[in-house]
């Protein structure tokens, strides 16, 4: 799977979990400060990425990711 497809699917999941429009989400968007994610929603995001890509991520490292772009990079490490 190439990087752009991963990013597109990451953004789709972000919109779904945080209930926000695609236009509001950019690679540089910070989950907390730009998209208003609560701490429980960051847990939901990790779970939703795992379901979307069929992967198991290292929990604590995944939760330290700050932006949408970083999330796509992080997911890419697990996707074959």
């Amino acid at each position: 799977m190439d990087k752009s497809e991963i990013q597109e699917r990451v953004i789709k999941v972000v919109c779904q979990v945080l209930n926000t429009d695609k236009d509001m989400v950019e690679p540089s968007s910070n989950f907390v400060f730009d998209l208003g994610a609560e701490s429980t929603q960051s847990v939901q995001l990790v779970a939703a990425f795992e379901e979307e890509f069929g992967i198991e991520m290292e929990g604590e490292a995944a939760l330290s990711v700050q932006t949408v772009g970083e999330a796509a990079d992080f997911v890419a490490k697990y996707v074959k």
Partner: protein, 425 residues
């Protein structure tokens, strides 16, 4: 004669989960004392065997020798499966060797003379029991046993009454401030030294005894209905403490509690109903956390211990089983007969939660997640224990690591189901 208590890994151990995940079965409470305290009441030389993963942790909490193979030699032994009800245990300490087996061939006790002991293999408690079954006379044993945690809860009011009579204590040795209100016979009330009962507290012993143990504090407008046991250094904060409660040491209890057992060091400060429940240690129930203990159609309550197969309890009244270190947010609603694992963190959804929540679950937005992981839960446990001047030790952490692995199949399944639900929402 040396009494050996044993609680070794077997299928029936899980009938006492989540409470027995982190302690031997004999440490569970029923009445005023634990199952073990009742069994060892008349013994002087006692040792014990617990599942290996909890041995180091348990060793730090008890005065008796734990998993010491050396205790299986040089003495006449009486080995007792601690699921046996103490009230039914009528096996003589001395006599010829004898192994008591259930109809399924499970060993409930083994009396072994020193001479016969020399002929048996003793590498471990399991090896010794198997060797005894093979080489010593066996007898069919119909001793009554505890089979599930909810049996302890259902028996609790009766057991408090029996334990109170056996202890033979009554009277006011602590301080009961005026105006006081004690209903029933004074001989059915015991207020231990160091207890402080504030004004405007009702102690109602009309239907059963009330035992308030050393250092407990009862705040105004609390009503304690017997039979009831309040443990050492526990505080009741205007609680509606209805009949049949055993509250262990160092608890903080408010709201309405009925026919429940709380192991110790747990908090239920605020309003909210807890009924026919068994709550472990270091649990914190947020304000308005409530459990159902009766179904609207009055049918028997079922409990799912493994996340898959519901078990009919045979009772119309069963509340929640809540494992150690579990915390709930404000407003959590537990369904009738809920299994709430240990080390779980639970947030309210506004409606009754699923009846099975696995250990180490972060239950958020109505689904089980991995949350922030076990290290964050350990951090919280460490803080909770330090607030009561107790330490989270390496042995404790190693035990919980083992429990994390032991409970992972049910949790992983719930997490997978949670992910699917999350994306469907």
């Amino acid at each position: 004669m040396r009494l050996i208590l044993f609680d070794v890994p077997c299928a029936k151990r899980s009938n006492f989960y989540p409470l027995s995940l982190s302690r031997p079965i004999w440490e569970l409470r029923c009445g005023i004392s634990t199952l073990g305290e009742k069994l060892i009441a008349k013994a002087t030389d006692v040792a014990c065997f617990v599942p290996g993963y909890m041995a180091d942790s348990y060793r730090a909490k008890t005065n008796i020798k734990v998993n010491d193979a050396g205790t299986l030699a040089d003495q006449d032994l009486l080995l007792v499966d601690t699921r046996i009800k103490a009230s039914s245990f009528n096996v003589e300490n001395s006599g010829p060797s004898e192994v008591g087996l259930t109809e399924d061939g499970e060993c409930l006790y083994a009396r072994i003379t020193k001479d016969d002991l020399a002929k048996l293999k003793k590498d471990s408690i399991e090896v010794l029991l198997n060797s005894a079954k093979e080489k010593l006379p066996t007898t069919r044993c119909d001793l009554a046993t505890w089979n599930y945690t909810w049996e302890l809860v259902l028996e609790n009011p009766h057991q408090i009454t029996k334990d109170f009579a056996a202890l033979g204590r009554n009277g006011i040795e602590g301080e009961v401030e005026e105006p006081k209100a004690i209903r029933g016979s004074a001989k059915d009330v015991y207020v231990a030294p160091g207890v402080l009962v504030h004004p405007m507290v009702v102690i109602d012993a009309a239907n059963g005894p009330v035992y308030i143990d050393e250092g407990a504090e009862i705040h105004p407008f609390t009503r304690i209905e017997g039979p009831c046991y309040i443990g050492k250094k526990s505080i009741l904060l205007g609680a509606k403490c209805r009949e049949g409660n055993s509250i262990g040491p160092v608890c903080r209890i408010g709201g309405e509690v009925e026919e429940s057992i709380i192991q110790g060091h747990s908090n239920k400060y605020h309003d909210g109903f807890l009924g026919h429940a068994y709550v472990g240690e270091w649990v914190n129930l947020g304000a308005l956390t409530t459990n159902s203990d009766l179904k609207n159609d009055y049918s028997n309550v079922s409990v799912t211990l493994d996340g898959r197969r519901p078990i009919d309890t045979g009772s119309t009244k069963v509340g929640s089983l809540i494992g150690d270190h579990t915390k709930t947010s404000i407003g959590v609603l537990f369904n009738t007969g809920s299994y709430v694992g240990a080390m779980a963190l639970i947030m309210a959804t506004g409606k009754p939660l699923p009846k099975f929540i696995p250990s180490f679950a972060w239950f958020l937005e109505g689904v089980t997640t991995k949350g922030f992981g076990k290290s964050k839960l350990y951090g919280t446990a460490k803080i909770a224990m330090s607030r009561r001047k107790l330490q989270w030790t390496e042995a404790e952490e190693a035990m919980w690591d083992a429990i994390f692995e032991l409970t992972s199949p049910a949790r992983d399944e719930a997490i997978r189901r949670g992910r699917r639900l999350m994306l469907k929402k």
